[in-house]
Symmetry: C2
Subunit: 246 residues, 2 copies
Amino acid sequence: MSRLKSDELKKLHQKKYRQQFGCFLAEGEHLVLELQKAAETNPALLESELYVSDSYQDWPGPLHKTVVSDKLMMQMSDTKSPQGIIASVPIAALQHSEPAPVQRAVYLFETQDPGNLGTILRTLGWFGNFACLLSPGCVDPYNAKVVRASMGAIFHVPVEIDVPLSTLASRYAAIGCLDMQGEKLTSGTFHQSDCLVFGNEARGVPAEQLDAMNARAFSIPGCGDVESLNVAAVVNMCVYEINREN
Amino acid sequence: MSRLKSDELKKLHQKKYRQQFGCFLAEGEHLVLELQKAAETNPALLESELYVSDSYQDWPGPLHKTVVSDKLMMQMSDTKSPQGIIASVPIAALQHSEPAPVQRAVYLFETQDPGNLGTILRTLGWFGNFACLLSPGCVDPYNAKVVRASMGAIFHVPVEIDVPLSTLASRYAAIGCLDMQGEKLTSGTFHQSDCLVFGNEARGVPAEQLDAMNARAFSIPGCGDVESLNVAAVVNMCVYEINREN
């Protein structure tokens, strides 16, 4: 990856420039350590660049380092008090060109909230047996808030963006959709699902498309006074249920 | 509750003034509707006041309304684009003076993140059978971000603040603590727990205090590359597990 100029680095807060330059920023010690750990098994991540303030110029590890001014650090940072260490990471390194190994997928339909997506990635990274597919209109997974909330899972969990709902039927044999009304997760059919579809924070998933792919509806019954669960909470419970007996 | 003056309303973003004036703000149509619904069974909430912009002056319901200037609305609002309807809610209305009915509790030790606390309250409100106890040093549950993320659960879930860890042993018979190493949630002993203790986002819970109260350790095994789960994700999975067979 050719090194970015400072005026390019500043623009990586915006999705269109992340796409144009093919990289995103991961800020802070924890994320950089996770990046370095992931690079041990994914050498394409060694193309990442570290941008550091003076106090981090002796930071160890294989990544190329550039010392930058406090001003540029502030401009690159997503927080008010930059830690002083930021990596720019090539997106291509996280895109798996060989056919993905057979595994289950969580499909998020128009999920907008970066904290939710980050938490979901973190949970998928914890259990290790799900890819994450994002519909068109989802928040960009390389958004700084998603990357931070993922706590490094962004470097480990296979993510595919702009996956149309209509393509799932040809890829998965048993699609389940989380809905307000459906079978309980304890039913055997839930455990057979190889793709779980989740609606966004405000609306569900278009019913006619789910019918067309023979998706089965599942739900988590509640008996309290609250109308709905947070989408990340629902994903967490579903992925927990699938992994419960492991 | 005596009505607050405009310079007092503006200060309700700060915890110390929420405590001094005994109320907090709930902003937007959804939260106000949830408040009105909760007031049907908790008449003390009828002491809440609505502050509205011109476009909301015909908003229906039993709460007293005051039309305020756009400027004051901006100052009260936690968002850049205020919806134009904000309630001030008496905290005392949510504090249950009679002894709480026997129910299970989730105890959060020094949870700092408002989004996490809000999501946890929403999940507890969904299942309806857990109170939420907060240790000293937790984020204030009446913080605007918590209230918003709770999606109205703040009006339904019993919450106690400043509960010292050391007082749990006298209140609960079977305390469980979520830790990196412990029994699986599927063990019978987990289901017997009447109080579940969760550490904060960065540190666990002091081990010597847990030993002193004979807390049992439980964990959620993962086999991925990620070091830890988000605390709200762990609470969601635990509360789901407890309610799984209901």
